[in-house]
Subunit: 241 residues, 2 copies
């Protein structure tokens, strides 16, 4: 282990794309639901369109154009647009709620539970996601993710990459910035964490698990971070857990 | 199960006295430390005095006499007073920090882990304590308490029995008030939860586990609550988990 990682006491994680496979999970529910409803939709396109609405909506909150809005509610707002664009009409309120909550039913990557379980024996582990507490809690229950606490955007009503979110990780855990390592597959998240004094661990998605077109880290930038791992199991291994 | 409990989706817990045996834990560390330091102290009295400082200090925060102060810091403030009263001098800063963090090393009652593990299979479970997030996270790791999330006072910067804390439980879990049950061994906590619309489960400490002089519920008031249990295992049993 690098000497600067010897003092790390907690690992906080990005979730969407880093710990769970949002894309395959949304597509799978779409395909099953589309069959039942006899709809002819490209569900990969549907999933990507939904996810692409995510950043602009959060940016509106970050710029103060709209008040604080939980990610569940942002997901619902974007769903309404996507349903229109894909000409899917006539959903009941119950179906819309269920669709919105597909983001609470995302499957972990195959290495996530084992890697986190190992890390938990030696470190405090928590999500540091833009997902709200209810979403993270249900998602973690669904996938068996063994967190010590749920941290993230909702506790400070700011979205990443706002500095308040990164600062909150060490504040709430009563640690120094350099005792917390942000783990993510996205360069922008890690860069923001680093500029707020956190250690950074880049966890690639192993290619055999597949990956979506959004948010996969360019391997060329990996030298910028304290640690680069091929999976969460590899991350645990490298952190001596 | 009573019909009004059929919709409960989450159980939130008081911690000190309900899930962990703060008194025996503080006494045990005092006895061990006193022997090593050759001090002649009544550690039961020391523990009770420390705990008795807790409510007045939180009340100062509740009335706005002092700004928001985390429970770890309140524990430290009271420790300084108690050390003076018991004429214990010459502690290093490190020893004072370690003493303050005795509240992060409290042993669960013998039924807590088994009862919570059963409940977790059917319900969302979380602490709703006045302890801050770092304190609750470390305490839970120390005792193996398998929470789904860490909720409580620090998320809203209010101490129980302020209504903000009870409201935050269903707000953060995205549930209705009646879908959340507050579980505690203290009548005042349950009464405040009930008056804010939560369901209430009174969990007595089984007498064979012993109990301190503070905060044990008067059995006569148990008819006021939706459920009365003899232990957390009994609570799980009654909740069909």
């Amino acid at each position: 282990m690098k000497p600067e990682l010897a003092n790390v006491k907690a690992l906080v994680f990005d979730i969407f794309g880093t710990v769970v496979d949002w894309r395959a999970s949304v597509i799978a529910e779409g395909v099953a639901w589309g069959k039942a409803k006899d709809l002819n939709i490209d569900w990969a396109e549907f999933a990507d369109r939904w996810r692409l609405g995510y950043k602009p909506a959060m940016d509106k909150v970050r710029k103060g154009e709209i008040p604080w809005t939980r990610l569940d509610d942002i997901h619902r707002m974007i769903l309404e647009e996507v349903l229109k664009e894909f000409k899917i009409a006539g959903l009941t309120e119950e179906e819309k709620v269920s669709w919105t909550h597909v983001w609470r039913r995302l499957k972990p990557w195959p290495d996530s539970v084992e890697g986190l379980t190992r890390l938990k024996k030696k470190y405090v582990i928590a999500p540091l996601s833009n997902g709200n507490i209810a979403l993270m809690t249900e998602l973690s229950k669904f996938g068996g993710l063994p967190w010590d606490a749920i941290l993230g955007a909702e506790l400070v009503r700011h979205y990443k990459p706002d500095r308040e979110v990164y600062v909150s990780a060490y504040y709430y855990l009563d640690l120094k910035p350099e005792e917390v390592m942000m783990c993510a597959a996205h360069a922008s998240d890690l860069q923001a964490a680093r500029s707020n004094g956190l250690r950074t661990g880049c966890s690639f998605i192993a290619p055999e698990f597949g990956s979506g077109p959004i948010g996969v880290l360019d391997r060329a930038s990996s030298a910028d971070f304290d640690l680069v791992s091929a999976s969460i199991i590899d991350l645990a291994q490298q952190m001596g857990a």
